[in-house]
């Protein structure tokens, strides 16, 4: 009994960490531009796929990982400059469709370059499972949880204590006001895309040894990360992390206790429930418009 519960919990938090990083990425971009970036999932996929490509090319794990984070960040920057900045004041529908288009382009290019196969990375510290109260925990899971925790702490420090971080927060509260006090909001947007892509890529890399990766792995990962962001309250960083983790756990619990063939449907049932009962999410506040 306990073993099954723990098993589900472990796998839930592990994949939930990837969702959490993706959710953070969504939140960063949403906060600086009110755009919902449907290409977020492709950054996750790029991280995993690039890591595989570089290690298979003989570059060694550490360098491959660094490249697999930096390159998606550059892709994020290019995307922002080419696709988002030119249409800054456009209707939300337009922006959503542009990001969907970008995700198609990224996915298609990877499909052409690296094929439709499924790939894996070697686990960072071996495959010897750890026994915890009857449930097995993969060492890779510890990597995922540990690195995610460190990243979240660093981000917290960045936003709470550094000037750049505070500038980003200011932009998310009121863009015009931020510009008036001299904050380069275009630069903030630029940076948020790079950070968001890097976060996504990191999540993708960490989880590839466990869940494998392929050219279309990004779709579901991104969408579920999005559900996590909405669950936590779109725009709320802490909420994004909690939301992502929750989505992962609920999905694993659902697969373990209710039905595994409907595993993928759980997060989307969840989003419908959120929208019906608590649309502002767990941590979101209510807003009123001034007429």
């Amino acid at each position: 009994m306990l073993a099954q519960f723990l098993q589900s919990l472990f796998s839930g938090i592990t994949v939930g960490s990837t969702y959490a990083l993706a959710a953070l990425g969504f939140t960063l971009i949403y906060n600086s531009s009110h755009v919902i970036n449907f290409a977020q999932g492709e950054f996750i996929m790029l991280g995993g796929m690039l890591a595989v490509y570089f290690t298979n090319s003989g570059l060694g794990l550490p360098l491959s990982l660094v490249l697999a984070i930096v390159l998606p960040a550059i892709v994020g920057l290019v995307m922002e400059k080419v696709a988002i900045e030119p249409v800054k004041g456009a209707e939300p529908v337009t922006l959503i469709i542009i990001t969907i288009g970008a995700s198609l382009v990224l996915r298609g290019l990877v499909q052409i370059w690296l094929g439709k196969g499924t790939f894996s990375l070697p686990a960072f510290s071996g495959e010897q499972p750890i026994n915890v109260l009857g449930a097995t925990l993969m060492p890779q899971s510890l990597w995922v949880l540990g690195v995610t925790a460190i990243v979240v702490l660093c981000l917290w420090y960045f936003f709470a204590r550094t000037l750049m971080g505070k500038a980003m927060l200011a932009t998310s509260f009121n863009r015009v006001a931020a510009e008036l006090v001299g904050i380069n909001t275009d630069g903030v947007l630029f940076l948020s895309f790079a950070m968001s892509a890097a976060l996504g890529a990191l999540g993708g890399i960490l989880v590839t040894p466990i869940t494998l990766t392929s050219y279309d792995a990004g779709i579901m990962l991104g969408l579920k990360g999005f559900v996590g962001a909405v669950l936590g309250g779109l725009g709320n960083g802490l909420g994004a992390v909690v939301g992502g983790l929750l989505v992962g756990v609920l999905e694993a619990m659902g697969a373990g206790y209710i039905s595994s063939s409907y595993k993928d449907a759980m997060p989307f049932v969840l989003i419908l429930l959120i929208l019906f009962f608590r649309p502002s999410g767990l941590f979101g506040g209510k807003a009123t418009d001034r007429v």
């Binding site: 995700s103 198609l104 298609g108 929208l275």
Partner: protein, 310 residues
Amino acid sequence: MSKHPYRGLYLIAAVLLLLPLVLPNSFYVDLAIRMAINAVIVLGLNLLIGFAGQISLGHAGFIGIGAYASAALPTHFGWHPLLAVVAGAVAAGALAAVLARPIFRLKGHYLAMATLGLGIITNIVVRNEAAWTGGPDGMAVPPMAFGSFEVTGDKPWYWIVASLLCISIWASINIIDSPFGRALRALHGSEVASKVVGVHVVRYKVSVFVMSAMFASIMGSVTALYVGFVTPNLADFFHSIELVTMVVIGGMGSIYGSVLGAVLLTALPQALATFEGWETVVFGAILMLCMIFMPKGLVPTLAARFGKGE
């Protein structure tokens, strides 16, 4: 309303009448049928996106409901195919109504998220419940029949679909220049203003969403009956995106834009079929370029360029 609002419709009707004489073989007739089917769906979706200003990212789910109703109800329960079409439409409409009412009370793009969830759930259900739906491999669809007369093959379906398209265009033109249509456009222009003049905003948005869902379901049934087979791909996320692309490329809020968008983007995968893999890239690139350089869509942009105005 312009002096000759139906001018474009007459042109399209003429084209539809003459097309079978010009098309070289049944491959092209099949393509024309698919274009027309998509055009009707896109007309309904356009009312939602272009006029009411809401996005549905799961419309293929409604198509799937209609398609699988036409497949499963006659096969497993012996229902008459026509009844199955109606049942599918009613189910799609009911689902849309249940979903829409709480969503539309919220401000912002929550419909996008909700329809995204609904579309994906529908797809997964269809893939899993193999006993009813044939699972990932799909299932055969009993043809529409009246007594011993079966409606099969591209000839009869061409005329059925062409008529449906003309009727849909005619109805859409009428709706737009009516109090209902004006209220919809006002909703898009300024929700607060429309509320203040007495438009029951939630009710209108729900009506449009339900209507577009039923359009989609009926055309899903038509597709199933025409092709004779259904697979879950009919109801997947990419198909939903394709439909939104057709609306957007043709021109949000433009009737003829919807038809043009459907025609172009139904033909495009055929043209790209030789470039396996590039299809996705080109599709995505078209989406991005169109939205960046022609955010209003093809027809409105061209119309403005040539000074006509819609």
